[in-house]
Each structure stands twice: as C-alpha cells, then as structure tokens.
Symmetry: C2
Subunit: 206 residues, 2 copies
C-alpha cells in the first residue's frame, strides 16, 4: 500500500514564512518514520496512517498556538492504484475485510474517547471519498453513511455542510476522529481519500 | 443534479480580511446564477459548472492581482447522492453517457485552447475523484487515466505529483482545464469531485 498526504499551512500574517518554518519542527520526532518532499504548493508526507495523523496534528497545533489565524489543508490518500507499494507505509491500522460496520463504528468511538488532549482548538471540515468496489459491488455510499453515523456520535461532531462534515474541539480527539474515518471505513485494500481543512483563531464567527 | 464548491481564500498578510472582502466583489456579475453561504471555514457556492468555474477564476484572479501570496482552495462536487436535486444547477455542460473517451479528450483540448486570458498567473494542483460505477462496472481509474492523458496535452500541464496533478499558466486556460476535467470525465450522472489548490506569488521556488 501507499499512504500519505499533500499538506499545506496558511498563516494569515506578513510573517507567514517564520510560522511555517517553526511549525515544521513539530515533525522532527517522527522523521525516521516518514519521507518528506516540499515544493511551493505543498509538502508530501509519506507515512503509515498511525504516523501521518499525529504528524498533521502536531504540525497544525504548533501553528495554532502562535495565536495567528492559520489554516492547514491536507489531501490524504491510501491505496491509490496509481501509486507504488512502499514498505514505509506498512500498517496494522486497517480493519479486516469482513469486519461488520457496527463493530468498526464502536471501535472508532472508543479510540476517539481515549485520544490525548494536545491543547489546540480546531474548526475542521473534511470530505471522505471511497473509490472502487467492495466485494464486487458499489458500496461507496454505504461506507460513507456508516462513517457519518460514527462521526455524529464521536464527540467531535459539529455539523454537516454541503459536500463535507464539520468537526470541532481539541486537535487530539479531532485528528483521532479523522484517523478513524480514514482507516475504518472503505475497504482495507481500497482507494480512500480525505480532503481536509483545519482552521485556528479565525476572526469570523462560526 | 446538485453542483457547487466549498471555497476558501488564504491571503498570507496581516490585511487578509480586506483582501478577501475585495476579492468577493469579483463574484458580483454572477450573483443571479448562484447561491452563496459563508461561515468561518469556507464559502459554499451552488451553481452549474459553467458558472462555478468562471466564478472561482475571477475570485482567485482578483486576489492574485494584489501581489500578496494568496492561495484559494476549493472542494468541488457534482452528483453527490447525498445532496438534493437543485434547479439552479441545471447544466448542458456534461457529455452524453456513451461519448467515447477520445472524442471527449479532443473536445476538452479545443475548449482550453479557446479560453480567454485573464492576466493572473497560477500554480495549481488538483485531484479528481470519480465515485461509483459506470455501466455497472468499476471504471473509475479508466476515467482518471483518460483525464490525465487530456491534461498532459492541455497546454496547462506542469507535472504529476503523488495524489495530484500540477497545472500552470494564466488563470483563464487553467480554470478552463479544470472545468473540462470536472465535466467530461466520470459519468454524467455520476458523483465526481475535485480537491483544488491554486497559489499566486509564492516566495518559494517551484
């Protein structure tokens, strides 16, 4: 499998370069478990999901704690048929192929409840996309509706919007919710992606 | 059908509020063809694709012309099974259900070649997602590879990255390329989405 994300950080301040460079140091503890490639639009992080989501959480939280209005965007993907297998992405985070939806939802809720609090508030929204077939059938909306049921009982649910779902709260449980949505829904060998936006310190009312 | 986008603008300057408010006036000429809902994370624009892409182009171009480093992100969707039909989204931009891939690619190239130049440079990257079945089969990667072939001959192709494709050039042909990718690939009644990032005036080298 191949998994990772294209990640961008947008600090709404004249000093945006310094905020970005400081926040990147939050990735240092994970460096031996990921591969990074940066250009002018985004930074590719290749890693298994159990590393990728804590990396995004800590990167976002470091920027949010500056007090500036900052937004992190990530295009997250696993199992894209166009990407090569990579041993760096080996993971034990994906459920068995026939684990029932109700069990996956229960395990996801328990994981979010056990997530650490990291001390950075979030306003987040994301879309989950499930491509291809499951057991030879088109079940992508079943998996998405199953995930939405989990989200509504996750403790981090804010509200549904057109095309996406809003989450709120501390970055710890919010990124745990995103990790669970990404790993436990959609087939383990399938192509699953997330389009994620996380915002801190906006002057605009929710 | 229901189509639209969740759009966000990130100006990397202390004066970000003013840049956003000024850029929003670029949507004024289209106001009778779209519906807008704004919160602290994004602005929902509901419109048919032939309105939506020019709206995003002009909104982005207005912000880019300020000279600040600005990024626009959009989560674009058509045909999501979870959204209600909306007469506002009625469109003639989608091809017939059995139009061959080669004809669609040729028509897409011609449309990009005829696009107006608007005077704002872009560095763009996007992911196209095609959900569900086509003619009862899982053809989502065929459509994506067919779209990538079109992109490589579109005149706006920059390079492939993991999880996404980069485009470059004036916003006119670049947004025309995105419109063609969105409308001509994936089934006309299908669920198709784009995760789009467009950047201007970055201090970082490509």
């Amino acid at each position: 499998m191949f998994s990772g994300a294209q990640i961008s950080l947008y600090p709404m301040t004249d000093g945006f370069v310094g905020v970005i460079l400081d926040a990147i140091t939050a990735m240092d503890p994970y460096r031996d478990r990921l591969r990074v490639v940066t250009d002018d639009i985004s930074t590719l992080v290749v890693a298994p999901p159990e590393i990728l989501f804590p990396v995004m959480r800590d990167f976002y939280a470091a920027a949010a704690r500056t007090g500036h209005h900052v937004v992190m965007h990530a295009t997250i993907s696993r199992g894209c048929p166009g990407e090569p297998d990579d041993p760096m992405c080996a993971t034990s985070s994906l459920p068995g192929p026939s684990e029932p939806l109700a069990e996956r939802q229960q395990a996801a809720r328990a994981a979010v409840a056990a997530a650490p609090v990291v001390g950075a508030e979030t306003a987040a929204q994301f879309s989950l996309y499930v491509m291809g077939q499951i057991d030879g059938e088109d079940k992508h909306m079943e998996e998405i509706y199953g995930c939405i049921d989990f989200l509504k009982s996750s403790g981090t649910f804010d509200r549904s919007k057109n095309f996406c779902t809003r989450l709120k709260g501390d970055a710890g449980p919010v990124f745990a919710t995103l990790f669970e949505a990404f790993c436990r829904f959609g087939p383990p060998e399938g192509h699953v992606t997330i389009d994620l936006t996380v915002s801190a310190n906006s002057p605009t009312a929710r």
